[in-house]
């Protein structure tokens, strides 16, 4: 995990801290990071396990089943890798926004609308052009749809100073209903009784990796999140965004075009969420059924925070979450614990993370 040692992004600020973090031995610093990362995870699993006990479910059996189905079984681990694709893209988009100090909480709307448009478009294009061109066009359109759905919050934030938390959330609620309207009224497959879009033939989907069932979407996700990490930490453009995030007024005085950078951040962040929607359709679903909404974005937010906006650490956490999510879906059928449980785990994880950061700050302040 390169770069983790020099970056500590507290929960106190939405943006990234620019100053290098702790002093002292590199090993001690690493040990501290390990504790601060694994502590909340263990704490969240224990507390969630207690909840399972209260509900009359054996937590060890549940977690064991999750690990078996999400990680150890050949089918499960392949599903886990496939699930990582869109989640990594969403995480990449969130890293761009959060490092630039912008709360893009509208990822679910951006994701879903892109998914619906791609699902409507790709089966129409498939007979007309070669597969690679269909996929390329669909990915591009997905990114554009996602970005377009963030335009209103972006302009309101950049030029009117309207709080983007509210506007992006509103756009998500609007977008989810709008996606349903599109599926039911305009993009509906006339040959099915259930309202859904036409289905993209398996031959026209994103290619699978080697002889597995893993969709190559996971590669797109890995490339995107590493690219985002490098751009945000190693380039002038990334530095500009981080300055805007750390201190918008200082950024104005430094001669940066803050409104333009704000709109760009939104477009990048939402574009990546849109790309995630396209990858989910082209690689996994093949169509969109009415009322389908996996609501990935809100659950990825805690993972990105846990990774302290570091791209490489995010990959690890997205992997863990994918295991939990794929395993949880199987466990829902076997143990009768619905998948809502994953939401509780993520929420407790977030709270534990906050408490850990607080304790760490206290400890450092005491040691100074």
């Amino acid at each position: 995990m390169s770069g983790t040692g020099s970056e500590t992004t507290g929960m106190g600020a939405a943006g990234a801290t620019l100053a290098p973090g702790g002093r002292g031995g590199a090993w001690r610093e690493r040990g501290r990071l390990v504790v601060m990362t694994l502590g909340p995870i263990l704490g969240a699993l224990v507390l969630s396990g207690l909840l399972l006990l209260v509900l009359g479910v054996d937590p060890l059996a549940y977690y064991g089943y999750v690990v078996e189905r999400g990680l150890l079984s050949p089918y499960g681990v392949q599903a886990t890798f496939t699930r990582m694709g869109p989640l990594l893209l969403i995480a990449a988009g969130l890293i761009v926004a959060f490092r630039a100090g912008i709360w893009n909480l509208g990822g679910d709307g951006q994701f879903l609308l892109s998914a619906v448009v791609v699902a409507a478009l790709a089966p129409l294009l498939a007979p007309l052009m070669p597969v690679w061109l269909v996929l390329l066009a669909a990915l591009l359109v997905g990114a554009l749809v996602g970005a377009a759905w963030s335009l209103l919050p972006a302009l309101l934030k950049a030029y009117q100073g309207v709080n983007e938390i509210i506007t992006t959330l509103m756009m998500t609620f609007l977008g989810v209903s709008f996606a349903n309207v599109l599926v039911k009224l305009f993009f509906r497959d006339p040959t099915t009784t259930v309202p859904q879009t036409r289905t993209l033939p398996v031959a026209d989907r994103l290619p699978r990796l080697f002889d597995t069932t893993v969709s190559s979407g996971v590669l797109i996700g890995l490339v995107a999140i590493i690219a985002v990490h490098v751009v945000m930490t190693r380039t002038a453009f990334g530095l500009k965004l981080r300055i805007v995030g750390a201190n918008p007024r200082a950024a104005v005085h430094a001669g940066l075009n803050v409104p333009l950078l704000t709109v760009l951040t939104f477009a990048l962040s939402a574009g990546l969420a849109g790309l995630a929607g396209a990858v989910e359709i082209l690689g996994v679903q093949g169509n969109v059924r009415a009322d389908w909404n996996p609501a990935y974005s809100l659950t990825v937010i805690p993972l990105v925070f846990l990774a302290r906006f570091n791209g490489f650490a995010s990959i690890a956490f997205v992997f863990l979450f994918s295991v939990l999510s794929i395993g949880g879906e199987s466990a829902a059928r076997r143990t009768g614990v619905p998948n809502f449980f994953t939401l509780v785990v993520v929420a407790i994880l977030l709270v534990m993370l906050g408490v850990t950061e607080y304790l760490d700050q206290r400890r450092r302040a005491a040691g100074r």
Partner: protein, 311 residues
């Protein structure tokens, strides 16, 4: 279009606006109190949902509407408690914790509902109404406005009480100072942390009652995720109301009318997919933000943690 505006249509539109708007009113009012004191309460959606769940459970098990509302208030305050401890006492990020509380409550209530009621989906009996003599006889608005459950009148009364507290009491002054210049409040010998904690608990109670209203009066049933963004609309109401509770009331009725348009249009015999109608309140919120976004006023110290003696 003339046929649309029959008495039945108008009554159901006004009634629906009130029924759908009341939870928004309580959420908006609660959020306004938090924001006035300098706390951006993103967890309000979770507080409403917990209020809806607990309100339903208590009303269902005890058979008492009023105990149900009390349960709703307790549920909202139970979600407010971690917010108070983590954000106001320890100073963690209000937005991150707010998201966590909303996600966690969504998961927890859906989980509990699954284990308790997923087989039976019990319904509550209709909440008895309290007709106001004379006024309830009026055509159209009489049955829609003046023949409602007593909690409706109390909620409207809460608007006046909040306005009075804001304008004419020490408490109102302390709340405002906690949001605008916490250091000054501290210097005056009032504990900022306590004032803010009080504000967040009040928000939890109001939002919880709002959620309980959705479950007990609005739907008569608890459904996972049933608040569906009502708490977030409450945040917008509070932002646009610029510290004035009466604007929250006006906005809540406007958005309530949008939310209830489905039922009213069905009464009028117009068939539109519910998804189109569900877009209405959010579209209206965004329109309001586009038109008046610049004029939204928020306290200077909103979202920041106050540490005594820190610069």
């Amino acid at each position: 279009m003339g046929a649309l505006f029959t008495d039945a249509f108008l009554t159901s539109l006004v009634l629906g606006a009130l029924t759908a708007g009341l939870p928004l009113l309580l959420a908006g009012l609660g959020e306004q109190i938090s924001e006035k004191a300098g706390v951006l309460n993103i967890g309000i959606e979770g507080m409403m949902l917990m209020g809806a769940y607990l309100g339903f459970v208590v009303a269902y098990t005890t058979g008492s509407v009023w105990l149900g509302f009390l349960g709703g208030a307790v549920g909202g305050m139970a979600v407010a408690l971690p917010m108070v401890v983590l954000c106001i006492r320890l100073g963690l990020n209000q937005i991150v914790i707010g998201i966590a509380l909303t996600l966690g409550t969504e998961g927890l209530t859906a989980l509990l509902h699954h284990f308790q009621f997923a087989q039976s989906y019990p319904r509550l009996p209709a909440v008895p109404t309290l007709p106001i003599p004379g006024l309830s006889e009026l055509p159209v608005i009489g049955p829609a406005l003046f023949d409602r459950p007593a909690i409706v009148y109390l909620a409207i009364l809460a608007v006046f009480v909040t306005a009075y507290v804001f304008r004419s009491t020490q408490l109102g002054l302390a709340l405002q100072a906690a949001g605008d210049k916490p250091a000054a409040l501290d210097a005056a010998g009032v504990d900022v942390v306590n004032v803010r904690s009080f504000a967040v608990f009040t928000t939890g109670a109001l939002a919880g009652v709002g959620g309980a209203f959705m479950a007990e009066v609005g739907a008569g049933i608890f459904v996972p995720f049933m608040t569906n963004g009502a708490g977030f609309i409450g945040i917008v109401l509070a932002m646009q109301a610029r510290g004035n509770p009466f604007w929250v009331l006006a906005g809540a009725l406007l958005f309530g009318a949008c939310l209830s348009a489905t039922t009213a249009l069905q009464v009028a015999g117009v068939s539109i997919p519910t998804d189109v109608i569900q877009m209405l309140p959010f579209a209206a919120v965004l329109l309001v933000l586009v038109l008046f976004g610049r004029r939204a006023s928020l306290p200077a110290a909103l979202g920041t943690h106050y540490v005594r003696g820190a610069r």
